[in-house]
Each structure stands twice: as C-alpha cells, then as structure tokens.
C-alpha cells in the first residue's frame, strides 16, 4: 500500500489527537466528560436522520450536536448530576440504533460512525477539520482562564460581571461541534477515548494546569500515532485499536 494513500487520513486524525485531549481537559475540569459521549451519539443519530432525508450526513450530525450543545443549559437545572448528559447519550444511541436497524443505507453509515472511518478521510474532509480544529484551539485558549475561574470561584466570576455565555453555552456548543466532527472521522468510541483517557491521566500526574494540558496532548498524540501504525500494520479497524491502546496505557500509568 502506498504511504501517500494514508497521509491525509493520518493528518486528519492527528488534528483531532491534538484537539480532543485539550477539549477533554476542560470537560473534565467542568465535570462534564460524559457530555462528550452524549454529543457523539447525538451526532451519529443526526447523521443517520440526515442520510434518510437526503441531506449530507455531516450537516445532520453537526446540526443535531449543535442543538444538543446549545440547549443543554436549558435542562441543566432540572436534570442535575449529569442526568442531562446521560439522557442525551441514551436518546442518541437509541435513535441511531433504531434508524440503522430499519434502513439498510443507515445501517452501513451507522457501522461507519460507531467504528470510525478514518482511512476514508480525503482532502475535502481534511481542510474543514484543520480549520475547525485551529479555531477551536484558539477559542479554548481565549476562554481558558474564564473556564477555570468559573469553576474555582463561580461567585467571583459572577461578581465581576463577566459574560457567562462564552463559558457556558459557547463552550457547550463548541464541544458539541468538535465531538460531532471527530465522530464522523474517528467514530464514537475513538473520539471518546481521546477525550477521556489522556486528560484523566494528565490530571493525576501533572504539577499544574499548563503541564496538565501538555501531558494530555503528549499522551493523546503518542497514542494516536502508535494506534495508527499498529492498526495499519495489523490490518485492523483504527477506533478499537486506539481505544485498547489508551486503556492499556491508562492501566500502566495510573
């Protein structure tokens, strides 16, 4: 197989291997890591609905995830303790599985979304992903101190009159869109593995916040590169290899 054939899929996945551990660090900071899995499932369901309606699945996935992210706060007070994320996750999973079970076209796409379809990424996918990831990283950097202040001193944050929407609805919306994009490429569990495990390990080991971001980034990129090479060499699907590699790393390092 030509190496050129895999360079674009590799770069597309690498962009997510940089973004998702950083995004996961802020989701973990806010105790909202389950939201990542919920957004991925909702995006998968949205992509399948779009497919059946004759709309590009990517648009459907992004739209439903964005809707979930933007409206999450509306239910936060009634559904506290992570219940909103659990309900979103179950609704997304139930919807996606039912759609896949009742439409042959949806079944094929459903498998691709849950298992990941990284090797099929092309230039048309790489550029939007690269731009989206760069934008998301810039936004995260810009609102990082507000996210931290809102978590550690919510009253001081409020007393200073800082606008809440960039750190609440804005962050939720951005996280949902990033997870939807990642799900279309890495699959539901591949994306979740990168959002959850590197920050989890980093939070245990790092001496400070900046070091934690560096740890998460390093673990995420190293695991991604190793999983890509391993999956290619062994002719295995990428998502499960990445997830298993990160789980083994977690057990060894934790």
């Amino acid at each position: 197989m030509s190496a050129d054939l895999f360079i674009i899929p590799f770069l597309t996945g690498l962009a997510f291997a940089v973004l998702l551990p950083a995004l996961g660090s802020y989701l973990r900071l806010r105790d909202e890591w389950l939201a990542a899995l919920a957004y991925s499932h909702v995006a998968a369901a949205g992509a399948l609905i779009a497919l059946l309606l004759g709309v590009p699945p990517v648009l459907g996935g992004l739209a439903t995830a964005a809707l979930a992210g933007a409206s999450r706060r509306l239910f936060a007070r009634r559904l506290s303790g992570g219940a909103a994320d659990a309900l979103l996750l179950l609704a997304g999973w139930g919807g996606a599985v039912l759609l896949a079970a009742n439409a042959p076209m949806a079944e094929r796409l459903g498998h691709a979304l849950f298992d990941g379809q990284l090797y099929f990424a092309d230039k048309d996918q790489l550029w939007p992903v690269a731009v989206g990831v760069a934008l998301a990283l810039l936004v995260l950097r810009a609102i990082s101190s507000r996210l931290l202040l809102a978590r550690v001193y919510p009253d001081l944050f409020r007393l200073r009159g800082l606008p809440a929407w960039p750190t609440q609805v804005g962050f939720d919306l951005m996280a949902a869109l990033c997870l939807a994009m990642a799900t279309m490429t890495l699959g539901v569990m591949g994306a979740f593995a990168l959002v959850f495990i590197p920050p989890w390990l980093a939070f245990r080991r790092a001496a400070n916040w900046r070091a934690g971001l560096r740890w998460a980034l390093g673990i995420g990129v190293a695991a991604y590169v190793a999983a890509f090479a391993l999956a290619l060499g062994l002719d295995q699907p990428f998502g499960p290899v990445l997830a298993l590699l990160l789980v083994v790393t977690a057990l060894l390092v934790a």
Binding site: L29, S145, L148, L149, R151, V152, Y153, D155, L156, R158, L159, R160, A202, F203, R204, R205, A206, A207, N208, W209, R210, A211, G212
Partner: protein, 192 residues
C-alpha cells in the same frame, strides 16, 4: 456617596426569610464584623449582599461601580485538578506578595497536595488580594492555626489601610475583636 455598602432593614433567605432585619453601613477602609449564634443567618446575609441569596424585604445600596469579592466557607473544588497555587492567584488577579513564608514556598505545588490549612489560606488569599473595593469574608479563620490567624489579622488591617472595606462573618470572637472596627451581633444588639 461616602459609603461602599448600605443595607436598610435587609431580610434575606433562600426559600423563605431566614434573617432578622439588618442595618449596615460599610465605608472604605472599614472592617465590620457580623457575629451571632449558628443559624442566625450571617452567611445568608453575606450571600444576599453578593447577589446570591434572595432579598425578602429591605434594600441594599452599593456605591456605583463597586467591585465585590466573596470568600465562602467551602473550599473551591480543586481536589483532583492539576492547578498550582501560583495559577490560582493569577486567575483572580491576586499578588503573592505578602504571603507568609510557609505558603510562599509552596506556591508551585498543586492545591490538592497542600495541607487543609495551607489550601484554605491560599484560596482565601486569592479572594482577599483580588482587585476589589469591598471584600466579604465568611468564617475566614476556619482550618487556620494560630500563625495563620495572626497573619490574616495583620493582613486584613493592611488591606483596610489601603482603602478596602470588609464585612467579616466569624464565630472566632478573639479574631473579630482584633480585626474589626465595628461588630454587629445578629440579635439586634450593636456593639462597638
């Protein structure tokens, strides 16, 4: 307007009224103590002044543009989070200058690897030193040893001398006597 904060017959609570009416005036550079038995509503009054608890009757008047800071009894949720003391101070805009030596040496440690007293003092310091005209403190001496209380007393007086007003809720009568210009006992008795 010569005061930072004034309350007239303020009655506050969460679901229902939980305090007796409070008349309070705090000027720049003044430290006012609120004392009283448990359950009298000291913390609720601070929360109402900070806009968290509900005002059932009376009124709160603040100097226009007043910058408030609030320290609550519960320690910020930093356990399991890789956040150093230096990063915490940077978040609130607080300076490390003036920290006691036993804490200045630990600024680069994670907050969840400090002792309970060290963590409490550092999270308190981050609020105390944040840019603010009026600082509301709720039981600031909790978890502090004698050295910590002594340092805090001295620092509050310095902060007041620099122009900040303060309202201090505390059950520690020796601390209140040492640090406050006036004390209001929440059973309708004004002292001082």
């Amino acid at each position: 307007m010569s005061f930072l904060l004034r309350t007239d017959s303020l009655v506050a609570g969460w679901e229902q009224p939980a305090t007796q009416p409070l008349d309070l005036v705090v000027a720049a550079g003044e430290i006012v103590g609120l004392t009283g038995p448990n359950g009298v509503g000291k913390s609720t009054l601070l929360a109402a002044i900070a806009g968290r608890a509900r005002v059932f009757s009376g009124r709160i008047e603040q100097k226009p543009g007043l910058r408030l800071a609030l320290q609550k009894q519960d320690v910020p949720p930093v356990v399991g989070m890789p956040l150093s003391g230096r990063e915490l101070l940077a978040l609130t805009g607080a300076t490390p200058n003036g920290l006691p030596a036993w804490l200045a040496d630990r600024l680069d440690s994670r907050l969840d690897r400090l002792s309970g007293g060290q963590r409490h003092y550092l999270t308190l310091w981050a609020v105390l030193q944040a840019p603010a005209d009026l600082v509301l403190l709720d039981e600031p001496t909790n978890n502090l040893d004698v050295a910590g209380v002594d340092h805090l007393t001295e620092h509050l007086r310095d902060r007041a001398a620099a122009g900040a007003g303060m309202v201090v809720v505390s059950h520690d009568s020796a601390f209140v006597d040492a640090v406050c210009d006036r004390v209001i006992a929440l059973e309708g008795v004004h002292v001082g």
